[in-house]
């Protein structure tokens, strides 16, 4: 028995079967309930715990269908269209769902019908069971008008009018019902009777393609798991082929015997229908998971979903020439990304900016370049053939402060000290004056202008130094080492 405080009084929020048998019912005050049955066990009602439990059950019930959603605070709706055969028909499915719920200590009433609303009404206000066709409408007609789940006032009005069951309403034209009892009642009636079909809104986005394998014997070993993923991938790829698509994101769902569900996603840089390549990605991911996949007593069901797909022309197999380098590189990038993470595998992209820190950026290599660049694609600036490299191969971020001296202020430096080493400069070129991009920063204080020098020390090492700020100004100018030339 669970109690909650409603308007200052402790009232029953929920009661179990034996409590209901004693004539107690939700909504009653605790004092009344105690008067009727003194030795009841009372616990505070914690709706958030209920919600959490329901969510976990929902996640686990994802094993029956990907289209699962919560239905109110105490119900689940599963769209099992096309899923029942996996469990030996609808009866098998209902049995499996019931057994699963009982396994975690839940009392359930299950109904399976043509539309979600009909099934809900049959489960909540009827005896439950499997209904279809004529059986379904007969069963629905026997339900009390409360099954419409409209407000109490309207239910009372309906009863007063002598309309006790849905059968009384079903045979009447809808318009007068709407006129007298409100549009809501009419809509609800149509929905409950299955005249109108409203699909459920699943919790997680429905994958484009989803293939399942229910395992008779739970598996724990990695090779077995990989073998199942491999099989599922082949199946999924065939379906992608039919749609003329290639997958960009593949999600493997692992349903553990004890109800834990784990989803692992791998992505590919370009649409793929290559089961072997995607399996390799999964292998990489599984081997490098931060939180390893704990099989516990084993997985009894696995699912493979394609969550993102793009157009990829269907191809005749076996007649392909050797795969092009671009495709191979894409696969390599995918494999490296799966192992090291998207940030670790990157490529350079030029940006139209003269400010050294901004002129180049690194983007994850797994992203196709076109989808990532904003607007026009900027080309790398073409160096003048006569010039030596004017930008260093390596730069320090942030620039490293150094002690530099020049013969005369405002002249090029003739030596600098960095990491306690004195570099005497024998060649100097500069300055190249770069002003900060004032139009980018409105709020932050602007960085001083930089005067860049290309310098070479007596050991034959080439550096990129800059002086930040001007002599005779406040703050005094400072020297930095920004990069090293090859």
């Amino acid at each position: 028995m669970l109690v909650e405080k409603v308007k200052g009084a402790l009232r029953l929020a929920a009661a179990n079967g034996s409590a209901l048998a004693l004539g107690l019912s939700p909504g009653m005050t605790l004092a009344d309930a105690r008067a009727r049955a003194p030795d009841i066990r009372v616990e505070p009602h914690r709706p958030e715990a209920d919600t959490a439990l329901l969510r976990r059950v929902l996640l686990d019930f994802g094993r029956f269908t990907p289209m699962a959603a919560t239905d109110g605070p105490d119900g689940l709706a599963l769209d099992v269209t096309g899923c029942a055969h996996l469990f030996g028909g609808e009866e098998g499915l209902i049995r499996a769902v019931g057994a699963r719920a009982e396994g975690v200590g839940l009392a359930t009433r299950l109904a399976l019908a043509g539309t979600p609303e009909a099934a809900r009404a049959l489960a909540r206000f009827g005896p439950g069971g499997i209904y279809q066709g004529e059986d379904q409408s007969q069963a629905l007609r026997r339900l009390p008008v409360a099954a419409l789940e409209v407000s109490d006032k309207e239910i009372q009005a309906l009863s007063r009018a002598g309309l006790k069951t849905l059968a009384h309403l079903a045979d009447r034209p809808t318009a007068p019902i709407a006129a007298r009892f409100g549009a809501a009642a009419a809509t609800r009636l149509n929905r409950v009777l299955g005249r109108e079909d409203v699909r459920i809104r699943p919790e997680r986005p429905v994958p484009l393609i989803s293939v399942d394998r229910v395992l008779v014997e739970p598996i724990t070993e990695t090779p077995d798991i990989e073998a199942v993923i491999g099989d599922l991938l082949v199946e999924a790829m065939d379906r992608l082929d039919l749609r003329g698509q290639g997958g960009r994101a593949f999600q493997a769902g692992f349903f553990r015997l004890d109800g834990e569900v784990r989803h692992i996603t791998v992505r590919t840089g370009r649409p793929s229908r290559d089961a072997a390549a995607v399996l390799r990605l999964f292998r990489e991911r599984l081997a490098n998971l931060a939180r390893p996949l704990e099989p516990g007593f084993g997985f009894d069901q696995m699912r493979l979903s394609v969550t993102v797909a793009d157009r990829l022309a269907s191809r005749q197999r076996g007649f392909e020439a050797a795969p092009s380098t671009a495709e191979d590189l894409g696969r390599l990038i995918d494999r490296l990304t799966a192992r090291l993470g998207p940030e670790a595998v990157s490529r350079f992209e030029p940006i139209e900016s003269h400010w050294p820190e901004r002129a180049v950026r690194l983007i994850p290599a797994a992203h196709p370049p076109a989808a990532h660049s904003l607007g026009e694609i900027v080309a790398w600036p073409e160096p003048d053939p006569a010039d030596p490299p004017l930008r260093p191969l390596q730069i320090f971020d942030p620039p490293q402060p150094v002690l530099a001296t020049a013969e005369v202020p405002d002249h090029p430096p003739n030596r600098f000290i960095w990491r306690r080493v004195d570099h005497r400069l024998v060649r100097v070129e500069g300055p190249e004056r770069l002003a900060p991009e004032w139009w980018r920063r409105v709020q932050a204080p602007l960085e001083p202008t930089r005067d860049y020098y290309r310098v070479e020390d007596q050991e034959g090492r080439r550096f990129w130094l800059f002086r930040s700020g001007f002599y005779g100004e406040e703050p005094a100018p400072r020297w930095f080492l920004h990069g090293v030339f090859a």
Partner: protein
């Protein structure tokens, strides 16, 4: 007669043993600098080459030289560059614009950043063996037990399998035995000054430490020509027949006179 046959059989066996981890074919690439190419007889395209930075401040020079080799061998094919985080922390981050300035296409380069040497090797092997790239450049930081004879042999085999060139640049490390085809030590060298004493083109003091096919250790001053993509005779005396080495600091001596370097070379040969 019998003993002759036995020796012949052993020779054959030895050959198969030696073949393991060494280039599968005779494909070669060169530097473009005739004097060096004649001495080297080309570098194995599908093998491993090691480039050591003589000192930590020479790191960028070593990378520049290795990138020159990458450009020579990979041409327009994609390149994977694996870098250990410490290397970038100590010697500066790889700068895309600077790659362009050395004549490489940054758009064709995939940069892979890793923390551990082990990861670096794994990523390198993967990239090499896949056959999608022309060259894989790996940059390792510091001395490491992981970069063993076995590990470098694996790299070498992966290079053969994927028909790509493997280049291992090692910063802050002393040369050690490995399965590499060639081993180089690089330091920066004074460039030929441009107008108004401006620093010139990338110039390196290049020292061949080991060549598996027996070329003797030697050193050159090389200048990188970005426009033509070749190494050239470099240094202040470029153009003269016999380059002097006034630009080099004391550490580098002509290998013939350097007994200790020679001795080390002998030791390495025995391992390799």
């Amino acid at each position: 007669m019998r003993s002759d046959r036995k020796i012949e059989a052993l020779r054959q066996h030895l050959k198969t043993l030696e073949a393991a981890g060494h280039p599968v074919d005779d494909a070669r690439f060169d530097l473009g600098l005739e004097a060096a190419d004649r001495h080297l007889g080309g570098l194995a395209t599908h093998g491993l080459h090691e480039v050591y930075a003589a000192t930590t401040p020479d790191a960028t020079a070593a990378l520049g030289f290795a990138l020159g080799l990458v450009r020579r061998t990979a041409g327009d094919r994609p390149v994977v560059w694996g870098v250990q985080a410490m290397a970038e922390l100590e010697t500066g981050r790889i700068y895309g614009a600077g790659l362009r300035e050395l004549g490489l296409d940054p758009g064709r380069l995939v940069l892979v950043r890793v923390k551990e040497t082990k990861e670096l090797l794994a990523a390198g092997e993967e990239a090499l063996a896949g056959g999608a790239v022309g060259a894989v450049l790996l940059t390792a930081w510091g001395e490491s037990k992981v970069l063993s004879l076995t590990a470098t042999r694996r790299l070498s085999m992966a290079a053969g399998q994927g028909r790509a060139t493997a280049l291992l640049t090692r910063l802050a490390a002393q040369p050690q035995p490995s399965a590499a085809e060639t081993r180089w030590r690089i330091r920066g060298a004074l460039s030929r000054a441009l107008e108004a004493e401006a620093p010139g083109h990338p110039t390196y003091a290049v020292e061949l430490l080991r060549h598996r096919l027996g070329a003797q250790p030697r050193s050159w001053i090389m200048e990188w020509d970005r426009e033509r993509g070749v190494f050239e005779q470099g240094g202040q005396n470029a153009g003269h027949e016999q380059p002097q080495r006034p630009a080099l600091s004391g550490g580098l001596v002509s290998p013939a006179a350097d007994r200790s370097a020679e001795a080390r070379g002998e030791g390495l040969r025995r391992y390799g």
